[in-house]
Symmetry: C2
Subunit: 410 residues, 2 copies
């Protein structure tokens, strides 16, 4: 885990780390974005589970540089400078510096070649649309926490650093199947992520992200989030009386690679999460008509086959995340293409993993009750379970130049 991507030799004072190409964590079920018992510490009201998706398809890359020559902390996201003063970013920086200071005070032979009062520059890019509701903030903050830790030489659990940025980011610190344990302590010290099963545990599992036509969000996710905890009686009941048993059951399904159980629980829990959003006042609606058509498509597909071959889950947006096994991907993609014909760029409709074209039987076409709505699914990203953060040693792929500013093409 040691990193040698230090590239600031020519300037002496820049300590730069190669950005780990961090994976996007996808909530598979049981997570409540914003269902927080403590809004400041970002502590959840129940444990949750996610799958980290593969960086070949979806990744965040982050570079951090530290220098005595930097006048202030600065951050660039996807090449555009953003306000470094936003509270969550500040909380991450404060937390990592606190951990670095603690380490300096408790360990001999601190080897950091810079003062903790030096300013940092951060550059981060996603290889997927940031605004598309693809949990970019989870991947982004996990990657930020991990890269900062590399630079600052912090080796302790990073859950808290990542969590301060975006709750679900703590899960993205690991590959494979990851649990975010809600913890019990008021200070959140035991609200940490841990890997439940590694990346290669279930090699047949496939993930399809159906990116739904972007329409203006009816409810801003940040505005409504905390109100769920305050106003939804169903959310409180769910957290205390439904989720614990479902978490245990989901762990079992993953361990035994029981796809039927895994799939049904995933769908039920996605539906219940969105039910509690609707029970919030004012209500929050992340699903739109296309989301609901996808839900119907999945149930029709499964009914046709007489068993649960495909599952959906929805995060805080209308995009569907589909779980299936490798032997079903081609037929399901054909079903999606049938129900949501690409409007244009048909060749770009499917991204990511190769999927062979498959014919759709007339019987299946007949039961897909959904009337075709061209263009309402913009494209599909085919991917699978992936590893945790990776360190990029090659300075050529770092996002900040020797001057600590974003490279022209970054």
């Amino acid at each position: 885990m040691r990193c040698c991507g230090r590239s600031g030799a020519t300037m002496g004072s820049i300590s730069q780390k190669g950005g780990p190409g961090n994976s996007l964590a996808w909530r598979l079920c049981l997570s409540i974005p914003g269902g927080k018992r403590d809004e400041d510490l970002i502590l959840p009201i129940n444990s949750s589970l996610s799958v980290t998706l593969h960086q070949d398809q979806l990744k965040t890359t982050t570079t951090v540089a530290i220098s005595k020559d930097f006048a202030e902390d600065r951050i660039w996201l996807n090449g555009r400078e953003e306000d470094v003063g936003q509270p969550r970013l500040q909380a991450c920086l404060r937390e990592i510096r606190r951990l670095a200071r603690k380490r300096r005070n408790t360990q001999d032979g601190d080897s950091l070649p810079f003062s903790l009062s030096h300013k940092v520059h951060v550059a981060s890019v996603n290889n997927f649309p940031t605004a598309a509701g693809l949990a970019s903030s989870a991947a982004g903050y996990a990657c930020l926490a991990y890269t900062l830790a590399q630079v600052y030489g912090v080796e302790s659990d990073l859950s808290e650093v990542a969590r301060r940025g975006s709750g679900s980011a703590c899960r993205s610190l690991y590959g494979g199947f990851v649990e975010w344990q809600m913890g019990e302590q008021a200070d959140g010290k035991d609200s940490v992520a841990r890997q439940v099963a590694p990346e290669l545990h279930w090699p047949e599992l496939r993930v399809l992200i159906l990116v739904v036509s972007a329409e203006k969000k009816l409810t801003s996710s940040t505005v409504g989030m905390q109100t769920s905890v305050e106003t939804s009686p169903l959310l409180r009941f769910r957290a205390t009386s439904v989720v614990p048993a479902r978490m245990a059951e989901m762990m079992r399904c993953i361990e035994e690679r029981d796809f039927q159980g895994f799939a049904q629980l995933t769908m039920k829990d996605s539906n219940q999460f969105h039910a509690t959003c609707l029970d919030t006042f004012p209500p929050i609606s992340y699903l739109n008509d296309t989301s609901r058509r996808i839900i119907q498509l999945v149930h029709c597909f499964n009914t046709h086959h007489g068993r649960t071959k495909v599952a959906y889950t929805f995060d805080a947006g209308p995009n569907a995340v589909i779980f299936t096994l490798d032997d079903t991907v081609a037929e399901f993609v054909a079903a999606v293409r049938h129900s949501f014909p690409p409007e244009a760029n048909g060749d770009k409709f499917l991204k990511g993993l190769q999927v062979r074209p498959a014919p759709l039987s007339d019987e299946l076409k007949a039961v897909l009750a959904v009337e075709p709505t061209p263009g309402s699914v913009r494209y599909i990203i085919a991917t699978q379970v992936g590893p945790g953060p990776q360190i990029l040693d090659d300075p050529n792929v770092h996002l900040l130049g020797p001057d600590g500013l974003p490279k022209p093409d970054a």
Copy 2:
């Protein structure tokens, strides 16, 4: 309550009653369509409350005739003959005949001019679209039960007869504000409707029905209904732990004509009902994108005014039912017209009660975040709280002719 609309004099054997122009009951809140503890007796898992809407705008008219000359029971809905063998209709007929037999056996001087073995003809029409999800079956079965009772001379509580047809129909037997008490007995004898407040209790209250563009229902309401009780953990919690307190609070709001309380509880409970639909497996979605835009419009409107002036509720379909007070109707209709401009037939956009045109302030226009979507609200029906069943004495308005068959224009 006695009726003299007997029109079968020329044929001697036909006993015909004028159809009470029965009102449409609208669930205001707290009702769970299909949330039934007993599917056969149609017993609900919680009590519920509804407002009966005015017959000037929304009504069902039913005529029943009985004759020894009829070879079989027959029924015509909106001029078209339907299958009289459907189980719920048969249950109604069986129940009313049972009550009539009981009355004949226990009372002296039974005056029915026909045998209970004679067959019935029934004709029923709605003056509103049947398929539009406007609770036509509640109004229809209430009207049928009431009319049958007139013909058969049954004077006992008709809740059970109506309930056997459509659960919520028992509430439509009364005008004003009506409670359906869930009851406790296994045989459902105490699952009856009662009037909470009469028709003229809250004269300022207005009801707007926003009929949303018909799209094919994604989920058939009958298919999914019983599965809610079986599969939704949230529904069970709601019925036992949320609804009882809300019922009490709603009664208070109605009694005190507390619009703010009434409105907020109505919205919260509509949202929670639809949340439990989504928590059903497979999930049920009655709301569509237009429904959600209406929800957002209402919240924007209230936020702009700094208080709750308008409330929405949704039944088992995408149409919105809006509650407001008479001083707010004109401005809210203008807001709806702004957000959902009529595509055509602009003069038919508003039906029912007269609403004067009102200008929309620029400030309000600015906060109506909803992007105008022309045509997605088809039309508005403006109405108010109405009376219970009415008897139509005039034979000219009866739907069956002296021959017991529908009149040509019925």
